[in-house]
Amino acid sequence: MALDRWVALVFLLICLAYGYTAFFTMDASLPPFMQRNPVWPSTFPKVLAVLGAVTALVILLGLEKPSKEPKAQDINYRRLHEYKLGQALALLALMVAYALLLRPAGFLISTTGFLIAGALILGERRFHLMIPVTLLATGFIWYLVQEVLGIFLRPWPFFMGM
């Protein structure tokens, strides 16, 4: 089964779960005065769930045939391993690490770390260039966000009391 049908299947399951919530569980918590309204919080979701399930089935059953002319696919997912998959996954993991570290480690350390590690993953080895550039950029962006935009970003780790 092609990837787009798998996606449609997942979407169908989402619609079923969503529809189940809308049709059967949501209205129980509705306050009595609202039950007299012609429209409930679950009305619109009900419509969406039905339409969504129908559309997912159309794709799943292949009712709409794809156009025959081959498309210029820039990345063929069937041959994903031929691309730099490792780098992409490593960068995603790095982003998750950044998200988890941003508060505890502070903006300056985590951002510098992220930029350096990102460049390392992509094969950059010129440390004499990399370190000053990232330090400068991190400091500049922190100043811009904190001072110019006035949005608070904790600069240092939590134990430094800021």
Partner: protein
Amino acid sequence: MLEGLMIGLSTAFSVTNLLMVIGGCLIGTFVGMLPGLGPMSIIAIMIPVAITIGDPSAALILLAGVYYGAIFGGSTSSILINAPGVAGTVASSFDGYPMARAGKAGKALTIAAVSSFVGGTIGVMLLMIFAPMLSSVALLFHSAEYFALMVVGLSAIAAFAGTGNVAKAVMMTLLGLIMATVGEGALYNLPRFTMGMMDLQSGFGFITLAMALFALPEAMYLVLNPARSETGSEGGKQGEVKDLRITRAEARSMAPVLGRQSVQGFFIGVLPGAGATIASFLGYAVERNIASQEEQAEFGKGSVKGLAAPETANNAACTGSFVPLLTLGIPGSGTTAILLGALIALNVSPGPRLMVDEPQIFWAVIISMYIGNLVLLVLNLPLIPYIAKILSVPRSFLIPFILFFTMMGAYIGQNNATELLILVGFGLIATILRFADYPLAPLLIGFILGAMMEDNFSRAMQLYDGFGFILERPMTLGLLVFAALLVLVPSYRARRARLRADGVADD
């Protein structure tokens, strides 16, 4: 209209707003040139900045400037290194890149800038004429019609997704609408579909979603396939820009193209879902078909007309896409959807009342579009040789920075680290959706329109005590039937064409 124009002029020509236009255009050009950050991502990153400014006209002027700048920057990278930063400028590389290869990069950039200027300016004039007309009609609409109109807009976007992709686009739109129902609705303060998670109480952040849908997959594609970004290596050397002049003969051959494509591009831009990309390809195709024999042979090898046509058309279309946004409050493209999100964040409700209630916003934006076009021509063009230096930044530096800006955009809007995890999660899903050839813009448009659509739907339901509004209001019914036809007719025709090709149907 004259009165509004005056208000607009006085607002737009204040020192702050002039700086906004100039700054926006410069930032847009700079970032638009980079592969991986299209206009949508840049605008999404700029939204926290715009909200900090506070004044809605200044903020919208800034964002519109960024939008124009990004399109211009995108065409620069198409011409110089054959790597369009934006889908709308792909057609510009057909003739722009061969021209740059032939050592006429400067000339190509000038042609692009002049065409963009003319396309943008004529587009703004048409916008000035048509937007007030459309919004005076739209003032007669009730919530039932609004709901129907949004359905039409969303179906049109799906219908323009191309043969074989309509169902996928519809599915993405519905996914967007479903995601919009997560969190507390405006009408009833009940949390819905939050699965008990506090972080979902206020729903998904639209900046996070915009970043996850566009910036992140594009960055992932750049990582996966290094051939997509030719920055650093050879790109830097080819960015040599000399001699920006064009000859009088070239100007003369361009002139009719500019006129035709400005008008055509504008009207394509007005249609929801069509937008700059279709306008530029169509503009290129039309000009090639009507050109004389010897000119036709030039297309694809560095033809002046072949570059002028898509450049004019895409800028005119960008302007055109503001018509449904400013008059109906319905975005026709991903970019205008993000602008709509920004407006809502600034407490401005776009729609037909915008012109009546806050004429200074409406007209200031239009006037700044003029100024923006001028800024791009007189300020950015001479700076291009310097700005193009950014193309020589190696990708090992560029990509971490793109990812970092993506995360910052999502983070500073909400100041919540969970938002970053949602970003990565959705970014991964969006990348998979792109592998499977699902269009992502309908998802975002559906998401942004979702709340308004449900509002209008609920109000109509309340007024008519049920689904009666669909049958009792002829205009609503007409619009809904039209929406259904928009989705069904293309697939029906494609099916028949296929059957005929197989020799089954013969009528």
